[in-house]
């Protein structure tokens, strides 16, 4: 017998299940396809826990809650706490000053500091900005680890196409963009990413390449895998990555480190991020249904906080700052 039904087994739904369990509520988790995979945008994520870098453009709640995410994720999966290094092409060095001025928790790096952090980038970049308190994780591993912790508590992901109206009792709707018909103001924002493999390149932390037109981040994973992301296009077009986006991402990676030219392209992926007009995620409460949605580009950064607040509503009725009554 379950206390609440969670629809959607992406990062938000799985975290919601975990937060419910922590409060003594037993959830049922149903997903239209089943456990996480290429069908959901949680699959196509960078996995950066970078609230300071995001603060350059994101709203304050994302920064304050995002700062808690590193600790919360550390109980679930391997979190690599090596910070973030921001660099810029030589002629766009002004972007570094602008970025440093708009963010907190950063220190300026000269060539020696860059060489100490990332020896292989020595000589390729002379100035950078380092965010020591940031971290990253491997999203697909994190989803697997979430599933495992849920299974340990007796919760398995069921497969089934259901909507809140098909169910009785409390519902946590974590379907992302699939909930568009039920959640007003939700839109899809297209994002595209490339996965490369190189045994030659070794990086310890996410690198952000600031550029006025083609910003890029490169997130290192285990076994020579690098994730390059990500475009952000106000379009709900699905379908494979465009040639233009591939060109931009790969050119930016090449500008970061010339050796990426010889890397193997392992995957190219594209999906739609669910977002509200202000790009701030929220829990929307409508009677017995809580819609946890709009994670935009902050799925891994914001799922823990949203899940905690949604579970708190169910357990105690307390409405946190991310909870809105409809």
């Amino acid at each position: 017998m379950s206390d609440v039904t969670i629809i959607g087994a992406g990062v938000a739904g799985l975290w919601a299940a975990r937060s419910c369990l922590a409060r003594g509520l037993h959830p049922r988790v149903i997903d239209r396809v089943g456990p996480p995979g290429p069908h959901g945008c949680s699959w196509w994520a960078g996995g950066m826990l970078a609230p300071e870098c995001e603060s350059a453009t994101a709203e304050p709640p994302i920064v304050t809650h995002g700062r808690q995410a590193i600790g919360l994720w550390s109980d679930v999966t391997h979190v690599i706490k090596q910070g973030t290094l921001a660099l810029a092409p030589e002629r766009d060095r002004g972007e570094l000053d602008r970025f440093a001025a708009r963010t907190e928790g950063n220190t300026a790096c000269d060539a020696a500091a860059i060489a100490a952090l990332e020896p292989e980038l020595a000589g390729q970049h002379r100035r950078g900005v380092f965010f020591a308190a940031e971290a990253h994780l491997d999203p697909r591993q994190a989803l697997t680890d979430l599933i495992r912790t849920l299974a340990d508590a007796g919760v398995e992901v069921e497969t089934g196409a259901v909507e809140p109206k098909d169910l009785s009792g409390p519902v946590l709707d974590c379907r992302g963009l699939a909930a568009q018909g039920d959640v007003p103001g939700l839109r899809g924002v297209r994002g595209e990413m490339v996965v490369l493999h190189s045994d030659e390149i070794h990086l310890s932390r996410p690198i952000r390449l600031l550029h006025p037109r083609h910003p890029l981040y490169v997130v290192p994973r285990a076994n020579g895998i690098f994730m390059l992301g990500a475009t952000q296009i106000e379009s709900a077009a699905r379908g494979p990555m465009t040639a233009r986006s591939a060109l931009e991402l790969l050119s930016a990676a090449y500008a970061l480190d010339r050796r990426f030219a010889e890397a193997e392209v392992v995957e190219m992926g594209a999906d739609l991020r669910p977002a509200f007009a202000d790009n701030v995620p929220r829990v929307l409460r409508r009677g017995r249904v809580l819609h946890l949605n709009g994670l935009f580009r902050h799925g891994y950064l914001m799922s823990p906080a949203l899940a905690e607040q949604a579970a708190e509503v169910l357990a105690t009725g307390h409405m946190g700052d991310l909870v809105h009554e409809d």
Partner: protein
């Protein structure tokens, strides 16, 4: 007063809709500035930007779809036709980019596309350089508005060729002209309006400001200030200092 294909604008400010931190922020910038025209792109959205386009439509201002991202006349013409169909307007801001790095207009592709689109009934707002010969050809093609650049798109350098812009303004006194691209500071907007341009169009300087709505308002005020200055007979700069109180009769050492 020069009009824009028969339309009179409430304010001389046109604002782009790209690169804002969020649609909510974009809307706030439009509200705080009173911008009267919104430009919107279609090319990269591949016909699926409806959710965002509806938000732009909801701003309640004139819509000026653009052909940003097009590098040939053919691409631009196709994009313009899509824009007319989707937005129900025959206004089109025609961009044909000639150089991927500087994003400067391709004058030949621009003219070719302008001729085709004007003949097809579009009201074309061509994004052009300050080149007077090209301007004449665009007007011959049927353009009744010109949009010369101030500086390369997104550069924020302001008016790079004041002489060229002044010459262009003087050469075609009946054609509405908008300084488009390259504005970085409100003072650039004031300067453009002081030179006699009819409006300014900007995007990056507002969208990438730390506080976009306030910066948008700053640009709107500056544009209005420049327009007022233009119509109120500015003094001519002199080489000689002119004291505002007479010095004769005063003790001086």
């Amino acid at each position: 007063m020069r009009d824009f294909y028969g339309e009179t604008l409430q304010t001389p400010m046109m604002l782009g809709t790209a690169r804002f931190p969020s649609p909510t922020m974009m809307e706030a910038a439009f509200r705080s500035s009173g911008a009267s025209v919104a430009t919107v792109s279609l090319r990269r959205e591949r016909g699926a930007g409806q959710a965002f386009w509806e938000m732009v439509r909801g701003l309640g201002v004139h819509l000026l779809p653009n052909t940003a991202g097009c590098h040939s006349a053919r691409e631009a013409i196709t994009t313009a036709q899509m824009a007319r169909e989707y937005f129900g307007t025959d206004w089109i801001k025609l961009e044909v980019i000639g150089h991927a790095d500087t994003l400067q207009p391709d004058p030949f592709g621009l003219l070719e596309a302008a001729e085709a689109l004007c003949a097809d009934g579009f009201k074309v707002f061509p994004y052009t350089t300050e080149d007077q010969v090209l301007a004449a050809r665009l007007i011959d093609a049927g353009c009744r508005v010109l949009m010369p650049w101030g500086a390369p798109i997104g550069s924020g350098m302001g008016l790079n060729n004041i002489h060229g812009l002044r010459t262009l303004r003087a050469a075609f006194p009946d054609v509405a002209m908008v300084v488009d691209a390259g504005l970085g500071l409100p003072s650039h907007a004031a300067q453009a309006m002081e030179l006699g341009f009819d409006a300014i169009l900007l995007n990056t300087a507002v969208a990438e400001a730390e506080d976009p709505p306030t910066m948008a308002r700053a640009f709107a005020l500056a544009a209005e200030a420049g327009a007022l200055a233009r119509t109120s007979g500015p003094m001519i700069a002199r080489d000689m200092a002119v004291p505002s109180t007479p010095v004769i009769g005063k003790a001086w050492l």
